[in-house]
Structure formats: structure tokens, C-alpha cells
Subunit: 187 residues, 2 copies
């Protein structure tokens, strides 16, 4: 695989089909990652996204301090880690090592991007204190985007038969997911 | 099929996996329907959802007048109609008849629910003028929810082999979609 930059005007396409994501954040020497099913595009260009972050999460605390976060889109191969990341709190200890997750530095933000994911959106918080406090709702402007060119290129996701383990995930509830399925054209 | 009520505390599960939806609205004797890929849960109980509605849309005009809307989750069988609904404006004429779409009355709101869809969420707008004007972002409180019991029951989506035409849809861009795929358990 090669991580390739995605033009910012196409960044919404990384989330448009509604995959469950991992949210990474860092502040000072602390960093963490959580899972989020409630994340979607808000605008095309400049691209903005929405993500719901419960007040109890350590990731939110780091985001509120740093004003930055990174979305990573996990593949089916990271299904168990995605569930585990969502069930543990970073306040109880580092999640990365015990879950076998590795991270790397983004191009524009200090928040951790998760290795072996398929797409990454680096975001700066657009401050909206009312939304954040009342609805746990955060707006991020996407300042860099990239994707694994095995499954996303030319502005499109494409999963070949040999890419079954690289399909994205859609959470229903309680650790039950659907894998992204067959491609269909409505035109 | 039988349309069965879904408990409000489980309503988020109708949207949690990120399907593309149809948004119906009515005001006075006018009604319309549009497609939206940017719709997701915001809260569990009482359930709230988010939907992004462009200022140019007729549906938004009706929602701003009535304070209500209805989300319908279309199946693969309605793929062409879903694309067509998104490409036409209700200002240019009624969409329902020409596209072969039928609608029925909800239990709590006057907005049209679309026949042959799989799930329905009847919503009242939670007024947030700043979000609406700046981000085209609307919050709805779900006041009634229901689903086709062939594919949603016991709080879960379940697509049997004979339900291929009833799988939900996930928009990527430009009329290209993924169908909801295989079920996997991350526990």
C-alpha cells in the first residue's frame, strides 16, 4: 500500500458512505484514540466534518486542549481493535500497545493517525461552544486528507475481490457491524 | 412486510450504520422529498438526529415552515428513484408521481413517509438558527420510529439471502453507492 494525498475537495468522499471511524487526539505528551460511529461530512470545500464526542471521553479532553483531531477509517482487519478501542478508556492506561495499534504523525496536526487504516482526515476544531457543550457535537475543518491507494484512488473507494479484509465497517450497536458491500451505480 | 413501531431508545440503530436517506417534508398542501447522505444520530434517548439540508432545497423551505420532517431509509430496490430524487427539485414539479414514489402519513408528523422504504423516523426540528444558517445543519428530535419487520426487528437490522433487494444504500459520490454488506461481530 501507499498512503496518497486526497485533494481536500474530495475529502468528504472518505466518509460519505457512513463508515465507523477512529478518532485520535494528542495534547502535550498525552495521546489517545477512540471509536465513533457518529461522524459525517458537513461541507465540501473547504471540507468540514461532524463528530459526536461524549463528555466522558479522554479523547475529547485532549481535543479540547489541542483544538485538533485525526480521523482514521479502519478496515475489517481491525474489527476487534475497533471494538476494543471503543470499550476502553485512555484514562485507564495506554490503548495503543495492548491493542496492537500503531500510529504515525500527520502532515498538518499532531493528533495520531492510526496505522493499517484506509483513510485519514486531519482536522482542526471549528469552535462552537454551544454545540460542544449541549450536544457533544464537534465541527472539524479538514486540513489534510490521505488514503490507502489500494482501496481509494481517483476520488473513489474500490474494493477488489482480494481486498475483503480492507473493506470499511458500519456499526449497528453493541459490537455488531456491517461490512461495506457491493458497489452499485444509480445512474 | 409489516411496519412495526421501533422503541424510541432504539431509533438511532436505524441510522447508525450510515445509510443514505430520503427526507420528506410538507407545509400546507405542499410536500416534497429529497435525498441526503449527510444524516446521522446525535443522541440516544430522547433520540435526536442531524441532517444537512442545502439552502437551495425546496424540502428545506417546507421544513422551515412546518418544523417537521420525516426520514425514510430506502432499499436497493429504490436505488434509481433515490438518485433521481436527489437530482430534481420539487420546485420544478411534483417528484412523487413521475418517479413512482408513494407516501403515507406518519403517526406524529404531517411530513410524508415514503412507501417501500425500510425504516422511518418522524422528527420535529430542534431550532438552532445559528447551525441552520451557517452550516445548513438541522437537528431533529425523533418522535416516532418504525421499520419493516422483514429486515429490522429486535433492535437489529438483519438481511437474509432473499433480502438482497432490501439492503440499505450508502452514497459515495455522483450516483455511485455501496450496498450494506455482510454482518460481522467484533466481540
Amino acid at each position: 500500500m501507499a498512503r496518497q494525498a486526497v485533494p481536500l475537495a474530495q475529502a468528504y468522499r472518505l466518509l460519505n458512505h457512513g463508515p465507523t471511524v477512529l478518532v485520535g487526539a494528542a495534547a502535550g505528551d498525552r495521546h489517545n484514540v477512540m471509536a465513533a460511529a457518529w461522524c459525517m461530512p458537513l461541507d465540501f470545500d473547504p471540507p468540514k466534518i461532524l463528530v459526536v464526542l461524549d463528555k466522558a471521553t479522554y479523547t475529547r479532553e485532549l481535543i479540547e486542549q489541542s483544538g485538533e483531531f485525526a480521523i482514521s477509517v479502519p478496515p475489517r482487519a481491525l474489527l476487534s481493535a475497533t471494538v476494543a478501542v471503543g470499550n476502553r478508556s485512555g484514562r485507564d492506561g495506554d490503548k495503543f500497545g495492548p491493542l496492537g495499534l500503531h500510529h504515525f504523525a500527520g502532515d498538518q496536526v499532531a493528533a495520531p493517525l492510526i496505522e493499517d487504516c484506509l483513510a485519514w482526515l486531519e482536522c482542526r476544531v471549528v469552535p462552537e461552544p454551544h454545540n460542544q457543550s449541549r450536544y457533544d457535537l464537534f465541527i472539524g475543518e479538514v486540513v489534510a486528507a490521505s488514503a490507502d491507494d489500494r482501496v481509494f484512488s481517483g476520488g473513489r473507494w474500490h474494493f477488489r475481490p482480494e481486498d475483503e479484509a480492507l473493506r470499511t465497517l458500519h456499526h449497528v450497536a453493541g459490537g455488531a457491524f456491517f461490512v461495506t458491500g457491493e458497489s452499485v451505480d444509480g445512474n
